[in-house]
């Protein structure tokens, strides 16, 4: 039921039954209690969410360093953003990271969910195991991964130069280690969503398909994947949005290094805004980032929903 339908049904319902008239005489105006329930939340939300957004946008047109006096500088922060290699590199890194991590998360978690949905021994136990990463602080478990990459793997895989020299110190490949950690955690949630999607598919469909001689791959392509389309959409949208804002895994593994090779946009806003004296400049960066994320989300919904509708 969509909102519009809900509205329509509630509205007609309110008019039709006359016997309930005494209770629902207030069809034009809601009981004042309802307003009292909502207003405090709206005010609090405006004060702690909308206000900071507006303040951020305001300061993005100034040269405020985070302290001291400031002046309006018009659009120069925005102009400078597009000529700043460090900023462009951060966007490049964030997108590369987010796209690779989204693809891997969805591929792995769908595969694992299919395995968990098959008739296997101790299914609930395995399901519980795969969900564990979700409840661990990514920063804390990230430090364990950092040890793994910088101390254990160089000794275990001493024959492979990439790992022998500590992948986290490798300017070209350090990002793959961050992908590994982020995907490791994100899979936990994605698996659960896919699993609940798979459980809505009736077993009879597979029985019918196998009677018709469909192979396992054909069954997946023609039955499973189309029927969990909505779950796929949600997972892709959630993971891409989360990965674009990546912060914790980077702090745990490389802190943006080596050099600035693994600096994400969020990390750059954090570093520049709080310790770099670039409050206004990074506020402008954040505004651009907000626009980028919104555009990406809208684009995704368009594309993915069109694809879904085909089935």
């Amino acid at each position: 039921m969509t909102i519009t339908q809900a509205v329509r049904s509630t509205a007609s319902e309110a008019k039709a039954p006359k016997r309930a008239g005494r209770v629902r005489t207030d069809t034009k105006r809601a009981a004042s209690a309802f307003y009292w329930m909502v207003w405090p939340a709206v005010i609090a939300f405006a004060a702690f969410h909308t206000l900071p957004v507006l303040v951020g946008i305001f300061f993005s047109f100034t040269n405020y360093a985070g302290y001291g006096a400031w002046n309006f500088v018009g659009l120069s922060n925005y102009v400078n953003l597009f000529q700043d290699d460090r900023i462009l590199q951060a966007y490049g890194f964030s997108f590369l990271f987010a796209i690779v991590a989204t693809i891997l998360t969805n591929a792995f978690s769908l595969a694992i969910a299919l395995g968990l949905n098959a008739k296997i021994k101790a299914r609930n136990f395995w399901r519980g195991v795969y969900f564990v990463p979700y409840i661990l602080a990514i920063l804390v478990i990230g430090y364990v991964f950092q040890f793994l990459f910088s101390n254990s793997l160089p000794k275990i895989l001493s024959g492979i130069p990439l790992f022998a020299d500590n992948i986290l110190a490798n300017e070209q490949w350090a990002w793959t280690a961050i992908v590994a950690l982020a995907v490791w955690q994100a899979c936990a949630f994605a698996i659960i969503i896919y699993l609940s999607g798979l459980q809505t598919i009736p077993a009879e469909m597979y029985e019918a398909a196998s009677l018709d001689g469909a192979s396992a791959w054909q069954q997946f392509r023609s039955i499973t994947f189309p029927l969990i389309g909505a779950f796929f959409t949600i997972n892709v949208v959630i993971s891409l949005k989360g990965f674009l804002q990546v912060f914790d895994p980077i702090v745990a593994l490389t802190n943006g290094g080596p050099g600035t090779a693994t600096e994400s946009v969020t990390l750059l806003i954090f570093k520049g805004g709080f310790t770099g004296g670039e409050f206004a400049y990074q506020a402008a960066n954040a505004v651009i980032f907000f626009i980028v994320i919104t555009v990406v989300a809208l684009f995704q919904f368009r594309v993915l929903q069109r694809r879904e509708a085909d089935f």
């Binding site: 969509t2 809900a6 509205v7 509630t10 509205a11 309930a20 209770v23 809601a30 209690a33 309802f34 307003y35 329930m37 909502v38 939340a41 709206v42 702690f48 900071p52 957004v53 303040v55 951020g56 300061f59 694992i112 968990l116 098959a118 008739k119 296997i120 021994k121 101790a122 609930n124 395995w126 195991v129 969900f131 564990v132 409840i135 661990l136 602080a137 990514i138 920063l139 804390v140 478990i141 364990v144 040890f147 793994l148 254990s152 000794k155 275990i156 949630f189 609940s196 809505t200 009736p202 077993a203 909505a230 959409t233 674009l244 806003i269 805004g273 954040a286 980032f289 919104t294 919904f301």
Partner: protein
């Protein structure tokens, strides 16, 4: 703004579509599952689960070693002899009781306030969604789901400092408010499935709106309360970026923050650091182990409702 509203409606439809699916096709009962046990899948699932278990194993064995054992091996060897003092050292160095208390108070406070406020707001919105004011509020709150935290981060820190909210109480307020968007989304879908006749009967008996909420709606919301409670709990317990930017006093620092400080200070002291990581992860992990099914079903309900 309009485009955001559009997308919000799309999410809504999306989620509704899933719910409809779920209702139409009943979840397969395990007893009806006449398939033969798939041993290949079992083996594959078991092998893949090592990716989850290996980092945890590593955390445990390193935490139990002496520094000397660590320098000679890869870290994966069984600790011998076991050095329990790592935990005692970590306890002192990170002021563990203080950090645990801070995290616990923030988590409990956030969960309690979130449950009390989000459900009330969602109830008012769900029952009046046909009125322009409430509809506007609904989309106003929902639109915030698209606003990334970095854009709020810099001004927020100034604001919390000015208001004296750069402490545990401030974080409780922020988690409660920032969780509102998603929680309302989760609650309203469920509240709309509660028949309005239930309330009307109580109203005829003279119950006020607040009374109706307290005695009828809130108890019926228990499954969603569990979902929202779990999501809020995991978020508040593990969050790193918000305590990092908001808290100013070292005495207010949370468990993840305590580990962050560890990093620079005792960089080579891996065994004590790992003991500290284990202690930071343990409380939630233990709770999870004992309520695993409940947690997973709660999270699932939240994501597909």
């Amino acid at each position: 703004m309009t485009s955001m509203t559009n997308t919000a409606t799309q999410i809504e439809q999306d989620v509704d579509a899933i719910t409809a699916n779920g209702r139409r096709k009943r979840v397969r009962d395990r007893d009806d599952d006449t398939r033969r046990t798939n041993w290949w899948a079992t083996a594959l699932i078991a092998v893949c689960s090592l990716t989850v278990l290996i980092p945890l194993y590593l955390a445990v064995v390193v935490a139990l070693k002496t520094p000397e054992q660590l320098t000679t091996g890869t870290g994966f060897e069984i600790p011998n002899p076991i050095r329990w003092e790592n935990f005692a050292d970590a306890w002192v160095r990170t002021s563990f009781p203080q950090a645990l208390f801070n995290t616990a108070i923030i988590t409990v406070g956030s969960v309690v306030f979130t449950l009390l406020t989000s459900s009330v707001v969602a109830y008012a919105l769900a029952r009046n969604i046909h009125r322009p004011f409430f509809k506007g509020v609904f989309f106003y709150l929902l639109a915030a789901l698209f606003i990334p935290f970095p854009i709020i981060m810099l001004p927020l820190v100034k604001q919390t400092a000015i208001l004296g909210l750069d402490n545990q109480a401030g974080l409780i307020i922020l988690y409660t408010i920032y969780g509102l968007s998603l929680n309302i989304f989760i609650y309203t879908a469920y509240i709309r499935s509660i028949p309005i006749e239930l309330e009307e009967a109580a109203r005829i008996d003279g119950a006020s709106t607040w009374r109706v909420f307290r005695s009828i709606i809130f108890p019926l919301l228990m499954p969603m309360n569990a979902t929202v409670g779990i999501l809020t709990c995991v978020w508040a317990w593990n969050d790193f970026i918000m305590p990092l930017v908001v808290l100013t006093e070292p005495s207010a620092r949370t468990l993840p923050l305590a580990q962050y400080v560890f990093q620079g200070q005792f960089n080579t002291d891996y065994t004590v650091a790992f003991a500290s990581y284990l202690m930071a992860m343990a409380p939630l992990l233990v709770v999870y182990i004992f309520s695993q099914r409940w947690v997973i079903s709660g999270v699932t309900r939240g994501s597909i409702k």
